[in-house]
Amino acid sequence: MMDILNILLSESFWAASLRIATPLIFGVLGALICERAGVLNLGIEGIFVVGAMCGWMAVWLGAGLWGGVLVAALAGAFFGLLHAILTVPLGLSQHVSGLGITLFATSVSYYTYRTALPNVSSPPRIEPFQPLDLPMLSDLPFLGTVLFQQTALTWLALLLVAVVWYVMNRTALGVALQAVGDNPDSVDAQGLSVYGLRIGAIVVGSALMALGGAFLTMSAFDAFFFGMVNGRGWVCIALVIFASWRPGKALLGALLFGAFDALQVRLQTEIGALVPGQVFLMAPYVLSIIALVVAARSADYPRALLTPWFKGQR
């Protein structure tokens, strides 16, 4: 017990939690925007892969770190646009389209990587984002270590939580976005474009998802590996229900998940001899399912989620 307490009180533990949570913050925010507008985006897993690969490759080709971030976001937006065209004006199955996008985006990324680097045994590395070391603030006790050892991308994720919250709750655009996910007819009656709002939401949401992937290759690691996304996208889909489609709770969910994941890594070194290591590896996925089951009962799904809408048809 003392061991766990010691872990929970350590600065490095919370720094690691925030680091692990960062890609999930991007992913949950992205999924949240899509679903609030009424469209499930199961392309998330593949869009993570595309973001990870494109961001990394752009930097490797000399685009610079922020250039890589931009390329990743654009690539995510492209696959989001594809999903949007299939699910919004064409009104096709959001489940099948999303899974199709995941398969397509993943295979495009893997094929491109393999074609660019046919025979490498160890993947080439880039110089990733470094921790933002702010002179005065970094010296603060506890918070200094937790917050100011993070890279710029973590800061961007935290900033985006605030931006998405503000847009959703304080702007006309946010009201329209939520209405289009609840009652598209009412939005149409007001003369706003249901198609435009939904397509825009999916494109922006997908760009955010791709940033989650980019964080993996440009901040958490410094190279691209096959299978590196490893279900993080699916975890986000579970977390967004846990977060009841709210940005603040999305941040909380991602942080809880990050903390749990950081804890299992540390417990593994403490009591690893007693339990097979795989039990710890399984834990985050089990936790996601538990979070989903707990939240599902009272989940207040956007009312028009999964329901296609056609102009001129009631």
Binding site: L42, L82, L86, L90, G91, L92, S93, H95, V96, S97, L99, G100, I101, L103, F104, T106, S107, V108, Y110, Y111, R114, T115, P118, N230, G231, W234, V235, I237, A238, I241, P276, Q278, V279, L281, M282, Y285, V286, S288, I289, L292, V293, A296, R297, A299, F310, G312
Partner: protein, 357 residues
């Protein structure tokens, strides 16, 4: 102005034409990544053709590759018919394979003749168990089965690795994480001498035939389609929706489990954690290309298996990445999805409809 209106009748020509056209478009699309890799597409298609139809052995490899895809394709098609989104065939496949090696490697003292039937039954049961849990969480708590089955795939794969480093590890494997081999009498016999195609294919074809018959002709099939098309109406008509869902969950999971049985007991002989290169996920594409029809699943599985085997052989000959196959498969899924739009709706000029009405 253009307008979209639903078609009055569902044409049979679309049901057959859309998947075929999608397959052709997806294959033609492959020319772009081939050119990007600096390869001559004509030559590449030639190599792929040779890899599939070039010899009896080549085609037997396609049949071998198609076998697990028929199982996982059926698993997806059955579940999707009832709008039960089982994306967990990958995990259920591993559960079936684990059950097969657990029983088949001689732990239980089973008379020789009974071993193979027991492996098949328990492998299917293990796969079914893997689908019952998400269905329970869906019906009891409203937890979305898409997410639970997807996450279970990861959990099960890690569990397999744990078992292969623990209780299921072959003591003779020198620490390598693989299971003990299945005893000879527990293996599915090969179909052609000196080739890898095995009687798992026969089992898959029988299941596809049964599923086709049950869906089209039985009361059970009728209920299943009713639940899938409109659960509320089905409930109103006195169908026990929950029971129907559990029924199809058990079938879907069981068939996916058999994919694992067939791979270990028909092909590999023992279990490793890289048994399946995503057969569960590819099964979804197979089911969609098949229009969720069991007979169609067989044809779609043969097509997708040809793409994989052909691309592998082309890759060896020309040095182009075999991820090309995954690209073709995913594009065919997106094409068939777009095609389903044109099968259901037609695009008309608004002015002409006004004149007509």
């Amino acid at each position: 102005m253009i307008r979209i209106e639903p078609r009055q009748t569902q044409s049979r020509a679309f049901a057959v034409g859309v998947p075929i056209l999608s397959a052709v478009i997806a294959l033609a699309f492959a020319a772009i990544p081939l050119l990007a890799a600096g390869a001559n597409p004509i030559q590449a298609y030639g190599e792929m053709y040779k890899g599939v139809f070039g010899s009896v052995f080549a085609f037997s490899e396609v049949l071998t590759r198609a076998t697990p895809l028929i199982f996982t394709g059926l698993a997806a098609a059955l579940a999707f018919r009832a709008k039960l989104w089982n994306i967990g065939a990958e995990g259920q496949l591993y559960l079936g394979a684990m059950a097969a090696v657990a029983i088949g490697s001689g732990v239980l003292d089973v008379p020789g003749l009974l071993l193979l039937p027991l492996i098949v039954v328990l492998g299917a049961a293990a796969g079914a168990a893997g689908m019952v849990a998400p269905t329970y969480l869906k019906t009891r708590f409203g937890a979305d089965e898409v997410v639970t089955t997807l996450l279970l795939n990861f959990i099960i794969l890690i569990f397999v690795q744990m078992m292969l480093e623990g209780p299921l590890q072959d003591p003779m494997s020198l620490g390598w994480p693989q299971s003990a081999p299945i005893l000879d009498q527990g293996m599915l016999p090969p179909l052609i001498e000196r080739m890898r195609v095995h009687s798992g294919l026969i089992l898959a074809l029988i299941l596809a035939g049964l599923a086709q018959f049950m869906l089209a002709r039985s009361v059970w099939g009728f209920r299943l389609r009713a639940v899938g098309e409109n659960a509320a109406a089905a409930r109103h008509a006195g169908i026990n929706v929950k029971r129907s869902l559990f029924g199809v969950a058990i079938l879907s999971g069981g068939v996916a489990g058999l994919a694992g049985v067939s791979e270990v007991a028909g092909l590999k002989g023992y279990l490793t954690s890289d048994l399946s290169p995503g057969f569960g996920y590819t099964g979804i594409v197979v089911a969609m290309l098949a229009g969720l029809s069991p007979a169609g699943v067989v044809i779609a599985a043969l097509f997708i298996a040809s793409v994989f085997v052909g691309a592998d052989s082309m890759s060896r000959a020309m040095g182009v990445s075999s991820f090309l196959a995954d690209l073709v498969v995913s594009v065919s899924l997106l094409c068939v999805l777009v095609g389903s739009f044109f099968a259901r709706y037609r695009v008309v000029r608004a002015s002409t409809t006004r004149a007509a009405s």
